[in-house]
Amino acid sequence: MASRTHAGAVPSTLPRHQILDEQGAIADDPLLSPYVADVTVEQLQHLYRSMTAARRVDEEGTSLQRQGQLVLWVPLRGQEAAQVGSVWPTLPTDRIFPSYREHAVAFERGLAPSDLMRLFRGITAGGWDPEEHNLNLYTMVLASQVPHAVGYAMGTALDRKAAQDAGTPPETDPEAVIAYFGDGASTEGEIHESMVFAASYDAPVLFFIQNNQWAISVPFATQSRVPLATRAAGYGFEGLRVDGNDILGVVAATRYALEKIRAGEGPVLIEAETYRMGAHTTADDPTKYRERDEEEQWGHLDPVDRLRAHLRDAHGVEDEFFETVARENDEIAQRMRADVLAMTPPRFEDSFAKAYAEQHSLVDAERAEYLDYQVGFAPQDEMDTHDTRGAGA
């Protein structure tokens, strides 16, 4: 029923921005090129490092999961430019609200790869202190983090107003907030309410959509007839459509958006067109729903290959650099693996302290019951003989 051709479709007139073309050559983009004119080769090398480190850690995540060391892993391969390019231009004071695949975003914010793995090892639903890197936790219920980002952004604006009212000199770089979500999540009603609220309150928030063409097995065409960036105009703010595998295009679009946002012009939406090269998660099998052909086609648009070509061709960066980076990345992955293997599960009784911030009579009572009950089971082994897990699953 959800046909890909729609007789009544009104096509989008939004341009698609690109700065680094498929071969890694610079393509001029009148609006956005100025925003990356100052990017140095060292910075490009940094971006390359970040993208490839994320890719390497991602591979290690899949392998750890296969070995039973993680309960699940969510591959990001293919989306490195979209992620690194959008977070690199942020300031430490900006708050980031990821979805659940933004590993490269997290690492670029300074999170240690192993911190991220706690969640996927099944020992916490969080894993890091959101304040430390101004990086919120992953959120599994699609779209739910987006109104939080808008509210947080409203709060920064309120703080700014309070400071102004108090006569404090204005910050030079007002805070911005980024909300990440995917093409599938864009359909959730909470995304819409988020956009309405953001527009209404001029919230300093960037809606950053990674359109990786798939929501598990469902192709983008099921979610929308037109690029998602087109939606922004319906709320009266700007939407940009950018080649998401083009690191410079993403950096430029993000800088352009953040500039507007910091200037108090309210929300902006960026849709980065990219591709999920791997499985949705380690529990997924893409051969069930998509063609090898399509994967190969997108393989030619790989964001890492493209940046490598650009570094080589335009800046004469030599093999040695790439080899060194590969070695460093292996080390990062090995360290992460070692850290993961060393992680110990939490004690269940600690859960009782986490549900509420303040004392709670029922939780206290149940904690006491649990501890009492546990006393009946020492040693641990005895418990396991009664365990029914796996009987059915």
Binding site: P130, D159, E193, H360
Partner: protein, 324 residues
């Protein structure tokens, strides 16, 4: 001591919280210039400014969802849901986000959001304006639920909810908004999560909350005319529930009737009955009896008084209890 209606007491409680803490802010549909459809927030926008009393766009998920973000930023948002029946578009944000963020973050994030829900029936209105959905929230860990029945609690619980670092939902008994009562603005009445024995008795206990507290009191009065001495407990907090107070009462009286406006089936009465029976099994002279609405959607106004428990149904349950 001041005489205030429940609505005015909430208004005063909110105003005081806003005065004392600049991070407290109000959000909701029509709460600003209009002062809310029940005028509970009347005057607060002009007093505290449009940046602290937000007439939001019309989306409940947006209201609660942005409140979560504001709370993470250090604010203490108080969201008004216009009517009980319009809480459900925000159900995902409340159940999967607001309730769980503290646990998800291993305690690193607190989200002190207060949600005010004018609730309950017998107001002669149309569909979705008379619901009692408290059980749908009590089951979810991470939330706290308060149900003031009088002006004093309305005044203080509003402030205590806001001051609490956990998310709190306040079920405001909208058919009692105009009920007047004494408010002691000086002395805080202590723990809002404790039940209160509002009438002592020896032969049976009635537990009620919110709008049914006056009905429970009236039933105890009526029973006295029949020579029965009935204790009444205003439960006040629906999550956690103060089982100690209820159990102690039942150990004394041996009989318990629980009355709530929500349908009996799957309502909080079951939880209370089960737990009290477990804790006071040998004290019970009769099974715990529940008086609630029927397992039907809230009916049209013309017949709502047959649906919601009233004095007679509470008395009838007392009679049945005494018959054991």
């Amino acid at each position: 001591m001041t005489q205030l209606t429940v609505a005015k007491a909430i208004n005063a409680g909110l105003a005081r919280a806003m005065e004392e803490n600049p991070k407290v802010m109000l959000m909701g549909e029509d709460i600003g210039s209009l002062g809310g459809v029940y005028r509970v927030t009347e005057g607060l926008k002009s007093r505290f400014g449009a940046h602290r009393v937000l007439d939001t766009p019309l989306g409940e998920a947006g209201i609660v969802g942005t409140a979560v973000g504001l709370a993470e930023r250090g604010y203490r948002p108080v969201c008004e849901i216009q009517f009980d029946g319009f809480t459900f578009p925000a159900f995902n944000q409340i159940t999967t986000q607001l309730a769980k963020i503290h646990a998800r973050s291993d305690g690193q994030l607190t989200v002190p959001v207060t949600i005010r829900i004018p609730y309950g029936g017998v107001i002669g209105s149309v569909e979705h304006h008379s619901e009692s959905p408290e059980a749908l929230f009590a089951h979810t860990a991470g939330l706290r639920l308060l149900a003031p029945s009088n002006a004093q609690d309305a005044y203080w619980m509003s402030q205590q909810a806001i001051a609490c670092d956990d998310p709190v939902i306040i079920f405001e008994p909208k058919r009692r908004y105009w009920l007047k009562g004494e408010v002691d603005e000086k002395t805080s009445p202590g723990d809002p999560f404790k039940a209160s024995v509002i009438r002592e008795g020896e032969e049976a206990t009635i537990v009620a909350w919110g709008p049914l507290v006056p009905v429970a009191l009236a039933a105890a009065e009526a029973a006295r005319e029949d020579g029965r001495n009935v204790e009444v407990i205003d439960l006040r907090s629906l999550s956690p529930i103060d089982f100690d107070t209820v159990t102690a009462s039942v150990r004394k009286t041996g009989r318990l009737v629980i009355a709530h406006e929500a349908p009996t089936f799957g309502g909080l009465g079951g939880e209370i009955a089960a737990r009290v029976t477990e804790r006071a099994f040998y004290s019970l002279e009769a099974p715990v009896l529940r008086v609630g609405a029927y397992h039907l959607p809230y009916p049209p106004a013309a017949v709502e008084e047959n649906y919601v428990p009233d004095l007679d149904r509470v008395l009838e349950a007392l009679d049945r209890s005494f018959a054991y």
